[in-house]
Symmetry: C2
Subunit: 233 residues, 2 copies
Amino acid sequence: MIFRQLFDTESSTYTYLIGDPLSRQAVLIDPVLEQVERDLRRVSELGLKLTHVLDTHVHADHVTASGVLRERTGCEVVGGDGGAPCANRHVKHGDTLRVGALSFQVLATPGHTDDSVSYLLGDRVFTGDALLVRSNGRTDFQNGNAGQLHDSITRVLFALPDDTLVFPGHDYQGHTATSIAEEKQHNPRLAGKSREDFIQVMENLRLPNPKKIHLAVPANRECGRLPSTPPSP
Amino acid sequence: MIFRQLFDTESSTYTYLIGDPLSRQAVLIDPVLEQVERDLRRVSELGLKLTHVLDTHVHADHVTASGVLRERTGCEVVGGDGGAPCANRHVKHGDTLRVGALSFQVLATPGHTDDSVSYLLGDRVFTGDALLVRSNGRTDFQNGNAGQLHDSITRVLFALPDDTLVFPGHDYQGHTATSIAEEKQHNPRLAGKSREDFIQVMENLRLPNPKKIHLAVPANRECGRLPSTPPSP
C-alpha cells in the first residue's frame, strides 16, 4: 500500500493519499480545497490515478476539494449516507469500497455530524472527526449528538482490535496518529468515564462556531462549490 | 514496532517516538525542548521506557530536549561524531545502535552540518535535515558544505532501496514522509541536476539566519541547556 499523510496548516486538517501499488488506483480522504495543487502533484509523482475522494463527513471548518478533484480527474466522490447530495455514492455501515486491491470497510460513526463515517483499511482506521488523538469532534451543530458520538466511539471504533492505528481528521498538538488501545486507556473524555459524563462534558464545551461554518457547510454539500454570494452568518 | 511521528508547530520540527513492543525500550529522535511534557506523556501512556535520545545533528532552529529528557529519565543522549560534546555517545557511519530488538544503523550524512547523521531502521530512514520532502537542509552555516551534502544524499541515501520511507526533520508544506524513489525522481534540486547545479543553487539561496541560531547552537552543544546570559547575535 502506498500511504501519505498530508496536513493543511490553516485548518489543521489531515488528508490521506492511499494507493494500490499494483493497479495504481488511489483515493484521497478529506482533501482540502486550498491544497488541490499539492495533492494532485503528489498523486501524479507517485504514478497514481485518483479514482475516489472519500469525505468522512460534511465539514464545517474547511472546504472540501472533492468537486474540483472530480472535475480535474474524473474521480468518484463518496460520502456518508445523508451527507453531501453532490456525492456520486453514499455509503452506509457495512459497505465495502474497493479501490484496486484495497478494500475499505465503511463504519457509520455519527455524532459529530449525522453523516459521519469512518473507513477501515486493514489495521488502519480513518476516523474523521469522530475520534481524535486524546479528543473527539464537537457535537453542537449539524445534528451532532453527544450520546450518539459516545456510542459510535465506544461500540463501533473501540470494538476494533486494540492495535488498530487511528488516523484522525484533525490534530492541534502535533500528533499524527494514535491507536484504539491508547484512546481506550488515555482519552480524557472516555477513559474511566460514563456515557453521561461524556454527554455532560460535550454539552458544556461552549466553543465558538468554526470561523468558516456558514461558508463551508453549504459549499461542502455541493462538493466544495463556493456560493457566488456568501450567505450571511 | 511502535511508531509515532510528532510535530512542533513553532519550529516545524518532526520528532519520532519509536519503541520496541517486547522490551518496551524506546527512543526519541530530535525531540524539541518545548514539547518535553507532551513527549514524556506519550512515552508513559504507551508503556515505554525512554532509553535513548538521538539527535540527527546540532540544530540551529530549535533547542533540543535531550538534556532535560536525560535528567528526567536517565536515558542516554546520542549524537553524530563531532557533534554536541554533551552527548553520552558519538556515533559514526556503520555503527549500529540497539534498542531492545530494534537495530538502528548509522549513516553519516554531513553537508547540512558537519555532524549530521541519518538513522536507518528497517525500511525507514530518519534523515534529519540532510534530505527533506522535495528539498534538503541549507548548507550555509555550522560547517555546512553543499558538495558534501550532495554526496551524502546521492551516494549514501540514494543507495538505499527505492521503497525506503524517508522521515524528515522538518516540513513546511504539510508533508509527513516521502520515499527514496520519490526524491530521486522529483526532488527539484536533485532530479536531473548535476552536483555543480546543486552547489550553485545552495550557494545562492541567501536565506536569513534562523531566528534562534545564536541561542540554539550553543544550547544544543550542551544538550539544550540555555545560557544564563543569551549570547549577543
